[in-house]
């Protein structure tokens, strides 16, 4: 599996080259959010706000009214928790094209509860006019700007940074409100998002070897949530549906799937893998994924429960599947 570094930093500069209406707003986390290359390349289109997210989001709204496309860069958690009213009234109510690029979603940061955006999708999903995107690999990161830019209204993006894998063909960009179908099957519908997709792919390859047939969708648009592929996957699943996300089990992908199932009267079992309605703490991504049950092993256990039999898959089996190159030189995500 190919690993790429600072994908957004380089992509943003190339993408914005012939888009003079694109401006970047940053709240003291410019390098941490890979906006430094943009700042250095287009200094006239870069605005440093310091630690002032409330002012930044309202200013973004004002800019967007005048034809600019503000790309707000900071950690995901500081966007929606620190400036929610500003997002609601200065951006979402007037349906302005502000793009909020949120870094280190969920447990991607070892920064602890203060830095971990674990309910951002829940909060933002409830805001009228808001669209929500989440990236799961380098191809998503490279194409999410095009998807966001085409939306008539505000967009919140869960972004990846640093060293990230390429899971999807570079020539198959992210599509708005369209999930990627990663495998087809009839036993279980598996819907994953963000970094959980990579984790799930490790499990599904072993599960397939054990004879479990899985319809695996990678979901990158969390709002709107009207992709017919979701309904098809759910309707075709003999045992049930599993969702897996780097977010609270309340209000995110699992909830969105539950709503679709209930509204269409699709009586299936639904298992939501995610942060189980607890705050996390400062620790490595690998440690927290294991502790909170967000890793491949957790998925295997849920599949075993759902099909009603042990599949004899060990941690070693999953480790063996894992391409060692994937995280060979990756460190725990630093601040």
């Amino acid at each position: 599996m190919e690993l790429l570094k600072r994908v957004h930093a380089q992509n943003l500069v190339a993408w914005a080259k012939d888009r003079p209406e694109v401006v970047v707003l940053s709240a003291d986390l410019t390098s941490s959010c890979e906006a430094d290359l943009f700042r250095d390349t287009y200094p006239d289109r870069f605005y440093s706000f310091g630690l002032s997210e409330q002012n930044m989001l309202s200013v973004a709204g004002g800019m967007a009214r005048e034809g600019l496309y503000p790309y707000v860069h900071t950690f995901a958690v500081f966007i929606y928790r620190r400036a929610y009213d500003q997002i609601a009234m200065s951006v979402a109510y007037p349906n302005l094209p502000v793009r909020m690029i949120g870094f280190l979603p969920g447990i991607l940061t070892p920064g602890g509860a203060t830095h971990q955006a674990i309910e951002d999708i829940a909060v933002m999903r409830a805001l009228p006019n808001m669209s929500i995107l989440e990236t799961g690999d380098a191809t998503d990161v490279e194409s999410v700007l095009d998807v966001a830019q085409a939306v008539d209204g505000p967009v919140y993006v869960r972004m990846l940074r640093g060293e990230i894998p390429r899971l999807f063909n570079a020539r198959e960009p992210m599509q708005f409100n369209r999930a990627r179908v990663l495998s087809r099957g009839t036993d279980i519908a598996l819907l994953t998002s963000g970094i959980c997709t990579e984790e799930a792919m490790r499990a599904t390859s072993v599960l397939r070897q054990r004879g479990v047939s899985i319809q695996h969708l990678h979901v990158s648009t969390l709002k709107p949530f009207t992709d017919p592929a979701v309904l098809e996957a759910v309707a075709g699943a003999r045992y049930g549906v599993i969702t897996m996300e780097n977010h609270s089990i309340i209000g995110g992908l699992g909830t969105a799937v539950a709503e679709v199932m209930a509204e269409h009267g699709l009586g299936r079992r639904l298992v939501r893998i995610g942060i189980p309605d607890v705050f996390a703490h400062g620790a490595s991504r690998q440690y927290l994924m294991k502790e909170l049950g967000l890793d491949a092993a957790a998925l295997v256990r849920k599949v075993e429960e759902m099909v009603g039999q042990p599949l004899g898959i060990t941690e070693e089996d999953l480790t063996a599947v894992r391409l060692t190159a994937v995280h060979s030189d990756a460190k725990a995500e630093a601040l």
Binding site: Q54, V59, R65
Partner: protein, 344 residues
């Protein structure tokens, strides 16, 4: 020179005089020709006249609606009148004299949505913009629009009516408003975003923001001030209604903000402390050449100006309710007196 015919089209003297004074900015004591007879009406007199009429209209409205934001009219009438008649360089209104009904909330499916900005004239690089931050001053703004000829008196009949755009707490579809500012302290930041975009485009027009002193209790206002100074946005001019009042009572008893001038200067602003009922003093800072610092005019005002009766309600001045039929009659008598004095 305006003919009688033009005046009839414009509807109200105020607009004509406002337009004339806009063109004659920085000329003191402009002589305005309002009919075949040449009358010498200074813009200062006109500001005071409009301010008195705004108070009359607001009190009249509050009596017919059994309550409303009266002290805000008392404190801000001269400032808003001076902004519209002298300080701001606005074109004539492009909005219907009687406001259109509420067009539905903004969204990708709503192509009919409009803002109330058209009451402040067209958008043009050389023209100014106006943003009202304390949206509960909307009634005063509507009354001001009427008195300067940008809205019909009938428009106020829609105030706070179901399905109307003339909302009690103005939103961006309300006459004279362009952004939604009812959650205090967001107006300044949004106007800053507009001003940044205008500077990038090379616009020469200025961006005026009217805010209330209570908004300096919000951290966001100070975030906005530090941004203005850092980016040397001297195209932004801020008028503050320092009436010392907030919902819970006198600000000094709720959460003091003084010394406001010193605090703002420490944030890098160019601050003028003026009598908020003196047109000359209000307008003078706006005539200065911008010098890189954001301009802040602290208009110290009397929340009972022009309506001494209101002082009985101190320190609870935020919203006027009539506690008894007797009290209501007192205000009715006062209104009749004001109307007679004003000849309306």
């Amino acid at each position: 020179m305006h003919t009688d015919e033009q005046l009839r089209q414009d509807g109200v003297f105020g607009q004509t005089i406002g337009a004339a004074t806009s063109r004659q900015r920085r000329e003191e004591g402009a002589v305005v020709h309002v009919s075949d007879q040449v009358q010498s009406v200074t813009w200062q007199d006109e500001v005071l006249r409009v301010a008195r009429r705004v108070r009359v209209r607001v009190l009249e409205h509050i009596l017919s609606n059994n309550g409303g934001y009266m002290s805000q009219a008392c404190s801000s009438a001269e400032t808003l009148a001076a902004l519209y008649l002298k300080i701001m360089n606005l074109g004539p209104s492009e909005a219907p004299m009687v406001p259109l009904p509420f067009p539905g909330v903004p969204g990708p499916g709503n192509k009919d949505y409009f803002t109330g900005a058209a009451y402040n004239g067209p958008r043009a690089p050389h023209l100014d913009r106006f943003y009202l931050s304390p949206a509960h001053y909307a009634l005063v703004l509507y009354a001001t629009l009427i008195e300067v000829g940008r809205m019909a008196p009938d428009g106020l009949a829609q105030f706070n009516q179901d399905g109307s755009s003339v909302e009690m707490i103005g939103a961006e579809h309300s006459p004279g408003m362009e952004v939604t500012t009812g959650s205090l302290a967001q107006g300044l930041s949004q106007a800053i975003g507009v001003a940044v975009a205008r500077r990038l485009r090379g616009d020469t027009g200025r961006t005026w923001v009217y805010i209330s002193d209570g908004e300096f209790q919000e951290g966001q206002t100070w975030e906005a001030m530090q941004f203005l100074s850092f980016y040397r946005l001297d195209t932004v001019g801020i008028y503050v209604d320092v009436n010392g009042q907030q919902c819970d009572g006198a600000m000094e008893s709720v959460m003091p903000i003084e010394p406001l001038k010193a605090r703002l200067e420490a944030f890098g602003a160019r601050v003028f402390q003026v009598d908020g009922h003196d047109p000359e003093a209000l307008a003078a800072p706006a005539a200065l050449e911008p010098d890189g610092r954001p301009l802040v005019v602290l208009a110290y005002t009397d929340p009972c100006r022009g309506l001494d009766l209101l002082r009985r309600n101190a320190p609870k001045l935020h919203y006027l309710r009539f506690k008894s039929p007797e009290e209501r009659q007192l205000y009715e008598a006062e209104l009749r007196k004001m109307q007679t004095e004003e000849g309306v």
